[in-house]
Symmetry: C2
Subunit: 421 residues, 2 copies
């Protein structure tokens, strides 16, 4: 008996072996891992989880690998912050931030999916890993491929943020900058995946890879004291993250670890790339691809693979999908930093921007808990926020000079929030 039965088409239900496959050859639907939950139930307990490693591998029994984890042993189990300051500004008593800005190795939630994908890729015998990426995924694949001594190719849009480009090169993978947007990169990678026997983590390994995101739900429930939150706000790029968080909640409920799930799942997009939010608002059951134009580059997927499923999940949960402007993204980033000391990348600004919008609309009732997923670190997207931050005071190294500057700053009412006086 094994925890994985194999793969199964999400549309027609046809089954496949647990190999490097991702599309149903009959109906072209996406394949998902099919688990043997009866077997898993005999293995997993809360106590075992509590005694497990301080990483996402404490949930190993629910992750699609056959043996022991071999890559990304420190990924996941990031802090959950009770955000009292931000909560006070938004009128929320029970606001929590899931802080993946300090994920290991590369400061984004992608370390979760990559830990699972590369462990599985090694089990399947691959010696080369690759990905199409908006940045964070490439950083994580590059780092973990270095750790795992795998050959590595990462494909990124050529206009990516400097920190994300350097955050690949440092690990010495083969970095391919493609003149085009993410959707062009993704199309190219699908072609390349057909030609070479490489493990493209988000193409032919995608059924395993995407399951890593479930751990963002498991950890939230465990860290809230084995409870599901009343609301979550999740950024949407491909849509996969959101659907897997929902799946994680339901799995824990099915195992009896938490009460039946009533969590309202809300999606967040940037206005300049909001095909999923648009489908939700227009009550369409299909996604109209768009050409992305937003500073939230990590979410800039114009033709999101799981957008359709994300809409379904949000609707079923009673949630909404909202979008914010680039200005609101920057405002969200600074709001989060100045209230909670968390420096998130643009995607975090999208999440906080939408959170604020939903709070203003009165969507959250008194006493309800809200978890906002902060999925990446702001040091990777410095150019997006730098123009809004001004510059330091500049002084000579003398007390008199400092006191002059202090006096000038005190007189400047724009400094009030910093409490200069």
């Amino acid at each position: 008996m094994s925890k994985m039965k194999g793969l199964k088409c999400k549309e027609c239900g046809k089954t496949y072996p647990a190999a490097a496959l991702h599309v149903c050859e009959f109906c072209f639907g996406p394949l998902e891992v099919s688990y043997n939950y009866d077997y898993i139930k005999t293995k997993i307990t809360k106590e075992k989880i509590l005694q497990g490693p301080k990483s996402l591998w404490r949930y190993q029994d629910l992750l699609p690998i056959e043996g022991e984890p071999t890559v990304g042993l420190n990924a996941g189990f990031t802090p959950m912050i009770h955000a009292k300051n931000l909560g006070a500004e938004l009128g929320l008593d029970y606001l929590y931030l899931k802080n993946d800005t300090v994920n290991c190795l590369t400061l984004s939630f992608k370390d979760r999916v990559v830990a699972v994908a590369l462990t599985r890729a090694k089990e399947l015998g691959f010696d080369t890993v690759a990905c199409a990426s908006t940045g964070n995924l490439a950083n994580s694949v590059s780092a973990h491929a270095a750790e795992a001594r795998l050959r590595c190719f990462v494909f990124i849009p050529a206009d990516l943020e400097a920190g994300k480009v350097l955050g690949n090169l440092i690990y010495r993978p083969n970095v391919v900058a493609v003149n085009g947007n993410y959707d062009d990169v993704n199309r190219l990678c699908s072609e390349i995946a057909g030609e070479y026997s490489w493990a493209f983590v988000n193409i032919n390994i995608r059924p395993y890879y995407s399951e890593g995101s479930k751990t963002l739900a498991y950890e939230a429930m465990e860290q809230l004291g084995w409870r599901t939150p009343d609301h979550v706000v999740v950024p949407i790029a491909s849509g996969s993250l959101l659907t897997k968080i929902s799946k994680g909640f339901n799995e824990f409920a099915d195992l009896g670890f938490v009460s039946p799930v009533k969590t309202q799942i809300h999606g967040a997009q940037a206005e300049g790339c909001s095909p999923v939010a648009a489908a939700f608002k227009e009550k369409r059951d299909f996604i109209k691809p768009v050409k992305p134009k937003t500073i939230a580059k990590s979410l800039a997927i114009g033709n999101p693979a799981d957008g359709f499923y994300a809409v379904k999940v949000v609707l079923a949960s009673g949630g909404v999908i909202e979008h914010v402007t680039d200005e609101e993204v920057v405002e969200g980033m600074t709001l989060l930093a100045r209230t909670e000391g968390v420096f998130a990348e643009t995607a975090g600004g999208v999440t906080i921007g939408v959170l604020k919008k939903l709070a203003k609309k009165g969507l959250f009732r008194k006493g309800e808990s809200v978890v906002a997923y902060i999925t990446g670190n702001g040091l990777k997207t410095q150019e997006a926020v730098a123009p809004a931050l001004g510059v330091p005071w500049n002084i000579q190294p003398s007390l008199a000079n400092f006191q002059e500057a202090l006096k000038a700053a005190s007189a400047d009412t724009s400094n009030k929030e910093r409490g200069v006086q």
Copy 2:
């Protein structure tokens, strides 16, 4: 009874209350926290530590706060990596990396000292916190002051790396860029500390602040299975970190948590700012201040406050202090990244550069364990390493274009390490 007796001069032994004091008014020696270890022994156990929070606060009984922690609740307890790839390159079977590049909130070991300092500053009734910083400390003070809703002033050299400047501004503190080096900044801050009733974390709060570094020793021992390593390699800026790591080892031994300490403590500096390494090599018992000139800006303290004590600790342990050139710093950063997937800042490059030098010299014997302290994240010092990393391949989004690029890259022998072929 309380765990803190008060403060005590490291030189003449005169005692003081546990207030915001840092210099002995009789002999001008530095003050240290004096603990009531007999009392602590009745409180602390390994079991209690194991059941404690997944942060440095699991060692609360050995940290200089009176009540419960209130700031930086997620700081510390970072991963310890068994670095098998890097170890293989250096001939070390038991090389471990203490990975503070993912420390919470701000990706450096400074989150440890700031969590302790700000909790203590609040206990002492301060409403304003400040620091003199080479960058990481300012980032951490800014973030934690935001979290703690304290007014904040951070003082930095004006030529700091862009990521470290932005990594202050985002939290909306008062950032003061001083035209001068760190030693100028530090002198100025000592003057300012005399004029204003602010908690300067590394000046008048320094006795409490510096104790936070002990947790890097506690965690190493716990993560190695309650053992002290045979060797540690520690970067030296002010020298405080190194002395406190030593203190942490000895405290655990005195408590009976580990065997008597035989750890050889080695110090690492950059050639362009190596006053402590110079004193060690020249067998001097005093530090000759230098004007720093190195890319390792976070270690660029020309007149290190605890340099003298660092030399004493290293000598007593049978260790050495070594320095590396800026080229070796960059080589250390890329070596670490391509073997272990860890992207460290320049200080990490110094540590790995020195580690490599010591390994080549045959300092580590077969079977011995070595812990290298990786104290900050490479996304903060991108300009130091960017020129050495080249650029991505740049292609049009077509399979033919990719295959051409792949062919060209395969023919280029400089790509061999990436295994393009």
